[in-house]
Symmetry: C2
Subunit: 338 residues, 2 copies
DNA sequence: AACTTTCGCTGAACCGTATCAGCGACATGA
DNA sequence: TCATGTCGCTGATACGGTTCAGCGAAAGTT
C-alpha cells in the first residue's frame, strides 16, 4: 500500500510518465482529452505530488521560512506574532506553500538557520521580522541570494523589499490627539532600543512632541515585558513632575502600566491617560479599556507573504506600503487634569 | 556557483559518491582516516545535505507538522501556543528537524492538511493539539499510518501515544485550597465544551466540589475569549447568590473577570477570589496579581516533540505523563467573606 | 504533390542522496 | 595452504518527479 506515483498513473492510462507530468501540471504537450483522463485517474487513486522529488528536479521547495528571535516567555505574551503568522498562512495556503517556523535565541542562530534552510533547499525564501539598525541578517541573506522580504521600514533593508506601515503618521495622530486633550507632558515606554522601528519612533516622537507644544517627552526603553513596562511606569509616575499621559510600545506593557497606576491610586483616565500599541483583545478586556494604535496584523502578514511569493515567482521586487495603522480611542484617555 | 554536492566532494577526495555518503553519515564502510578527510573537504566547501534528495531516497523529511485549529484572533491572545511551539522547537532544533506550521479554520481543513503533508512526504509525523471528544482526526491519522502524538488525556487518543499532565490532581489542589479558605460557592468559567480536557475538568470539578463541601459549583462554557469570559463573569456576579470564587480556564478570561469585578465594585480578593489557568506573564501584570495554575508549557512541547521523534525513529510508542501542573497562589485569592 | 509546421506523445536524462551487491586486498583460523 | 571473513571501497541502481530532444501523424501551405 505504497503511495501512488506518476508511474502508476502512466501505467493505468497507458501513456508515459512525461505525459502524466504535463497533464497534471497544466503544461501544454497533451490533448485536453488525455489530460482529463489522467487527472481522473490521479484523483481516483489519490495521487499527491512528492515534494521531495519535485524540488529535487530543480523546482521549488514550496515552503517559506520564518525565524523568530525572542525568548519563549516573551513570544507567548506578544499576540503580534501569532496574528502575523496566521496572516502569512492565509496567503500561503492559497498557494499550497508551507511555512517553516523556527524560534531562536540570537541573531547568530537566526543567520545559521537561514544558511541551513537555504543550503538544504528547504525553503524558497524567508520573511524577516524585527529589523535592527545595521541588521547583520541583511547582508547575509543578500549574499546567499535567498529571496526575502522584510517587515519594517525600508531604510534599513538594503536591496531586500520591505513591507511596512508608516509609523510616523500614526504616531503624529497619537501625539496630536493627546496634545489636543491638553497634555503637555507625555512619556513613552518604548521597546528594545536595538530595533529599527523603536529608533524611528523615538526620533519621530521627539520631533512631533516639539512641534505640538508637548514640552516634556521622556522615553524609557524596555524589553517589551510587562515587568519592565510596570517598572518604567512606576519610575515615571514617581518622578516629581509626572507625565499626564503615557504611550506604550505594546499592549502588555500598557496593561502593566494601567495596573501600576491603579496601585498608586491614580485614576485612569482622569489623572493619567494611557495609549497602547498594536491593539490586541487584551486592550478591551481591562478596565478602562485601552485607547490603542491598531492595525491589521494578519493583513500585514498576508501582504508580506504575497510579496515574497511574487518575488520568488517572478523575481519581481519592490517595497510596498502595507495597511495603515490608526488610533482607536477608548476609555483610557481623557483631557489632562488641570 | 552552485551548491556543492557529494559528487563534488567525491571528485576532490578521489573516492566514489557512495564512500562520501557513508563517511558523512557516520555509517561503517570507510576508514576513519578517509572519513576525516572527506568531512574536512565537506566542511571546507560548505556542503549541506539536500533534504529533497535525502528524503527522496526513502529517508526522512526531517520535519514534523503542527496544525492549529483556532481563529487567528483567539490564537494571538492565547500565549499557550507560542510557548508550546518554542518548547517543541527546542527539542527539534537539537535533532535538526524542522517544524511545519499551519493554521486552519476547521477540523476538516486540519485533516486535509495531514493528508496533504503525509501524501507529499513533507513531514515525518505530527503533534495533535486541542483534543476533542470523539476526535475525528484520530482515526484519520491512524489510518494514514502517520506517526503522531497527542497532547491531551490518553483516554481519547486511540492507538496514538499521548503526552499529558494530570489535570484532575491540580484541580483538586485548587478546589481544596479554596474550600480551605472557606469558599462554599465556586464557579468555573470553562473553555470550549467540545474539547476533551474541558469535559474532564467539568466532571472532576463537580466531583471534587461535592467531596470538599463546596455546595454550589456552577460551570459556564465559553470560547476562551476575554469577551466571553467577561460576559460569563458578569452573569455569575449578577445572580442572586453570587459565587465567592471563580476558577477560569485560561488567563485572558481571568483578567477579563477581574476587570468585570472591579467594574462592579467588588473587591478582589476580599469579596471575590479569582484563579487563572495556564499562568502567563499576564497574570503577574495585573493588580492584584492572579493566583493561577501553572505548568511548564515549553517543557510539555519539548516532551511531545521528544516522544514523537522517538516514535518516528524507532516506532517505540507509549503514553507519557508530562510535567505536572501546580497551583501558584498570588494576590487574587483570600478567605471567603463571612 | 511536396514541404513545413504543429500536435501529442515517448524515451531518456537528470536532480542529489542512500544503499546494496560485489570486488580485491588482507587477516584469520583450521 | 586453503577456505573464510572482514575491511574499504566501487559502481550501479533506486527514489519520483521535471524537462528536453525527437518522432510519427495530421494539418496547413505553396
Amino acid at each position: 500500500m505504497k503511495r501512488p506515483t506518476i508511474a502508476d498513473i502512466a501505467k493505468r492510462a497507458g501513456v508515459s510518465k512525461g505525459a502524466v507530468s504535463y497533464a497534471l501540471n497544466g503544461q501544454p504537450g497533451v490533448s485536453e482529452e488525455t489530460r482529463a483522463r489522467i487527472q481522473a485517474i490521479a484523483q481516483e487513486i489519490g495521487w499527491r505530488p512528492n515534494v521531495a522529488a519535485r524540488s529535487l528536479s530543480g523546482a521549488r521547495a514550496d515552503a517559506i521560512g520564518l525565524v523568530l528571535c525572542r525568548p519563549a516567555r516573551f513570544l507567548g505574551v506578544e499576540p503580534f506574532f501569532m496574528e502575523l503568522i496566521s496572516g502569512i498562512e492565509g496567503e500561503l495556503a492559497a498557494n499550497s506553500c508551507a511555512l517553516m517556523l523556527q524560534v531562536v535565541p540570537s541573531h547568530e542562530a537566526e543567520i545559521a538557520v537561514y544558511r541551513r534552510w537555504w543550503g538544504e533547499g528547504r525553503v524558497d525564501g524567508a520573511i524577516l521580522v524585527d529589523l535592527h539598525a545595521d541588521d547583520p541578517r541583511i547582508p547575509v541573506v543578500e549574499q546567499l541570494g535567498m529571496p526575502a522580504v522584510v517587515t519594517g521600514h525600508p531604510s534599513g533593508t538594503g536591496s531586500l523589499p520591505a513591507v511596512w506601515s508608516d509609523e510616523v503618521v500614526v504616531l503624529r495622530e497619537v501625539i496630536e490627539y493627546l496634545a489636543a486633550l491638553g497634555h503637555r507632558h507625555i512619556a513613552r515606554v518604548a521597546g528594545l532600543p536595538a530595533l529599527l522601528h523603536t529608533r524611528i519612533r523615538d526620533e519621530a516622537f521627539a520631533e512631533i512632541c516639539a512641534e505640538s507644544g508637548v514640552t516634556e517627552h521622556p522615553v524609557v526603553h524596555t524589553d517589551y515585558t510587562g515587568e519592565q513596562g510596570a517598572r518604567a511606569t512606576r519610575r515615571l509616575l514617581s518622578s516629581r513632575a509626572r507625565p499626564s499621559a503615557i504611550v506604550y510600545d505594546n499592549d502588555i506593557m500598557a496593561v502593566a502600566g494601567l495596573s501600576v497606576a491603579q496601585e498608586m491610586r491614580l485614576d485612569v483616565p482622569t489623572e493619567l491617560s494611557i495609549v497602547g500599541w498594536d491593539d490586541s483583545p487584551l486592550s478591551q478586556v481591562v478596565r478602562p479599556s485601552l485607547t490603542a494604535v491598531t492595525r491589521d496584523i494578519p493583513a500585514c502578514g498576508a501582504h508580506a507573504a504575497q510579496t515574497l511569493l511574487r518575488l520568488i515567482g517572478s523575481g519581481e521586487t519592490g517595497s510596498l506600503e502595507g495597511p495603515a495603522a490608526r488610533l482607536l480611542p477608548r476609555g483610557s484617555t481623557a483631557p489632562a487634569g488641570m
